[in-house]
Symmetry: C2
Subunit: 485 residues, 2 copies
């Protein structure tokens, strides 16, 4: 068995990472020389089995595992005087990433090391399973899903849980869909019997919405796999997400800061610093994302209805996704609107904008107490003292003067140049992740293909398998050397 | 020597990717179980050397390579009934990436496979070197830079080259700075003698600008390392970038489409489709990025002065960066403005906005012929027929009515909701790259650390080294078994 580690694109690999050779070889051959070579200067590379078909292109032929692959190779020969490395080495970080400075007015994001930890963490969560023997209440299969893993403690049947979850007892599981083997998040509504299927028109509309700030709804079904009849909403699974409630409104000290301070009485120096408050750049990063989600939803003729800290997922440092879309549309579907499930949408859309205003005000106060009706004046005073007039005006637009129709488009001018800030941050983040993808040492061993010399056999193994195999061979050989075999 | 492949964060690795253990261990320990565990339920993990200092936190102690590392470990014990994988396996692609659909109104970006090819390509370009013997004209060292590699054919001294390059013969090299071992792009101005150093005030201002759509200027110096005295601008190196000129304005057929068609005469059916023209979404993606760069530059009190297709770099599918900033500020520095290098900035900023208008119009016409003065009416007719009124109004704002002062801020309302489109695309791209970073099989073997059992020795090797070592040992053992040693 010939072992040759590595796969520089300039030579044919024998140990390659686990990828079917077909798509790799058929795809565009990287052409490091072409950026200096005019197309007319291209010459066919000196490759193992070049054949010149009628098209004039050089076709490469390779048989792997009994299968012969043909692919076009357009690699020009490197120019005289140019040397490309034929060994494996990591290029250094590009300077624009190596010297990247955090920007004061931009939301922060994970730099390489943190991102790597975050990704490893997400993997573990994605791969986590339960020991079925310890959790007999979790069924082995629900519709086409298996390997259910509870994402929240199984709920005690109390009213608080109900009130923050659509008025029903709910539970939430990671599960794998056997149709595509991908992980999904199942939101189960306990004891709900679907009597009217007309609301499925809305579910179909939701399923078409793909947006980077919305958790996509994939399907809704009823099941008897649990102890009681249940309705299940299947969403994309975003490993490691936490709710805005848990990230930002879970700190009693922050609440105390808002509730104990007598904002109206000027009984001391007003806080010039945002002591204990969130940076304005973070609040705008959230506003841009939430308004982006609302804009897409409203443009599609739907209403969000879950613009609430308990239903907004945060992954990484600042990425938001609106979760649980479509649940209210099914659970509160009113028989009286039988003929038009969309009848109340305009009204719900207005409610969405008020809800957005409340989320923003709560973030600015760093406390849910700020959005209680009796605290509104105090809360607005806090905003006036600590944040820009744009932020204050946005909250006022969303929360006051309720006689006129609001539109999510009206808040764009208040966001203004902050769009540029968000885009710059997103692009810088792209640069960091790309560099990280380039330099990678995340500690996740790759699977590799071991291909026998006659290319009839392919073994796909992990490096752990490889090591065990080497160790066994080693032991056998030592034993043989000692005459024990 | 004990070999144990892999490094699940849940156990102490013996073979780890090549990273100093210190930063990895000191960083936040991933805590896959914590998303289900309320903070009060956390219990210290059962770890090798737990010690309880006064703070009450559990400190872990580990000696690696003769050095003892201390770090805080807050990993709670996994809940009963939960099983995390202790083997290595790739989680599948998350559904939001697996089922991602291209959006009609958004710029496209590299999906995983293409991105990987692009990154491999960039690596090769970054690592490429010349054979010094074949290119004796390229010096081995220029100031603190070495390993120069020409990025453009060495220029013949002709007027066309001069006119598109600041009126001078220029050349361009990738080079490595010996101070930080990072790759940079050197733009050399042949035969330029710097007589007045007051313009260095502007260079210092440029060096402070960090923006995802601007190639950062790092330093400017004079050198005698080449055959003639030269001035060198050192920029960040963006491997694989090509100019907008080469990407979009290098196709004679596209020019013919614009120049041969008699737009004014209505002598046939007007093109309803954008046959041969760029998608409007791409043009807006460019507008957002270029206006973002201009906004940052103007806000800093500078002017771009290189808003030109030959000076705009494109990497990947749609990322733009304005290149060669600061060159004009040095080369055309006027002694008469001796006391105020910033005197002409307002005027140059106005010129930037006209230049932006020309770039946009040329993109819309898909031909540089569109921005010739005599073609302007024809060009605007093409825009009116094929693109939105927002795009037309933006071009008119930038190119006509030259009596009033323009501001880059004025075009924000014309971009409007397209900011959301760009952000959504950037975030989706982030998701794709992150997934790719998670799942990675780019064929670049990792370096690994082999740590001896007594932890006194650390070997950093590639898998190629490892394989060679195994093979040698194997051969020696076979020889020993055969009694040849």
């Amino acid at each position: 068995m010939s072992l040759s580690a590595g796969s520089s694109p300039l030579h044919s690999p024998k140990i390659t990472p686990h990828t079917s050779p077909a798509p790799r070889r058929r795809s565009h051959t990287p052409n490091p020389a072409s950026f200096m070579v005019p197309p007319s200067a291209s010459t066919p590379a000196n490759n193992p089995v070049p054949q010149t078909p009628s098209s004039g292109q050089v076709i490469q032929k390779e048989t792997v595992g009994g299968t012969t692959y043909f692919y076009t190779d357009t690699t020009p020969a490197p120019l005289t005087g140019m040397v490309f490395p034929n060994y494996h080495i990591y290029p250094p970080t590009a300077p624009h990433v190596a010297y990247m400075q955090p920007k004061a007015n931009a939301p922060s994001f994970f730099m390489a090391d943190e991102l790597r930890q975050e990704l490893i963490n997400r993997h573990l969560i994605t791969m986590a399973q339960i020991d079925q023997a310890d959790m007999p209440a979790v069924p082995t299969e629900v519709d086409s899903y298996h390997s259910l893993f509870p994402l929240e403690p199984l709920p005690p049947p109390n009213r608080i849980q109900k009130s923050s979850n659509f008025g029903y007892i709910t539970s939430c599981y990671k599960a794998v869909n056997s149709k595509d083997d991908l992980p999904y998040c199942l939101r189960r509504i306990h004891g709900f019997r679907l009597v009217n299927t007309k609301c499925m028109v809305l579910v179909d509309m939701w399923k078409k919405i793909q947006h980077s700030n919305i958790v996509t709804l994939r399907e809704v079904f009823t099941t008897k796999a649990f102890a009681e009849p249940s309705l299940v909403f299947a969403y994309d699974f975003h490993a490691g997400g936490e709710t805005m409630m848990s990230r930002h409104f879970n700190d009693p000290n922050a609440d105390a800061y808002f509730t104990k301070r007598k904002w109206g009485q000027h009984d001391g120096p007003l806080p010039r610093q945002h002591a204990g408050l969130l940076p304005e750049s973070l609040i705008w990063a959230y506003i841009v994302q939430l308004s982006s989600a609302l804009r897409t939803i409203h443009t599609a003729g739907l209403a969000c209805r879950v613009m609430d800290p308990t239903k907004i997922l945060i992954t990484g440092k600042t990425r938001l996704r609106v979760n649980c879309v479509g649940v209210f549309d099914v659970l509160t579907f009113d028989n009286s609107q039988n003929n038009n499930p969309l009848a109340l949408m305009a009204q719900y859309q207005q409610a969405d904008l008020i809800s957005l205003g409340k989320v923003v005000l709560a973030l600015a106060c760093n406390s849910l107490a700020g959005i209680q009706r009796e605290n509104l004046q105090k809360a607005m005073e806090l905003v006036t003292i600590n944040y820009s007039s744009d932020l204050k005006n946005l909250i006022l637009y969303l929360l006051t003067d309720q006689n006129r129709m609001r539109s999510v488009n009206d808040i764009m001018p208040m966001i203004g140049a902050r769009f540029y800030t968000q885009l710059d941050a997103a692009q810088m983040r792209n640069d960091v992740i790309e560099e990280d993808l380039a330099k990678l040492d995340a500690g996740v061993p790759e699977k590799i293909s071991l291909i026998s010399r006659d290319e009839k056999s392919v073994l796909v193994v992990t490096y752990s398998d490889l090591k065990r195999c080497f160790e066994n061979t080693f032991q056998e050989l030592i034993a043989a050397a000692n005459g024990q075999l």
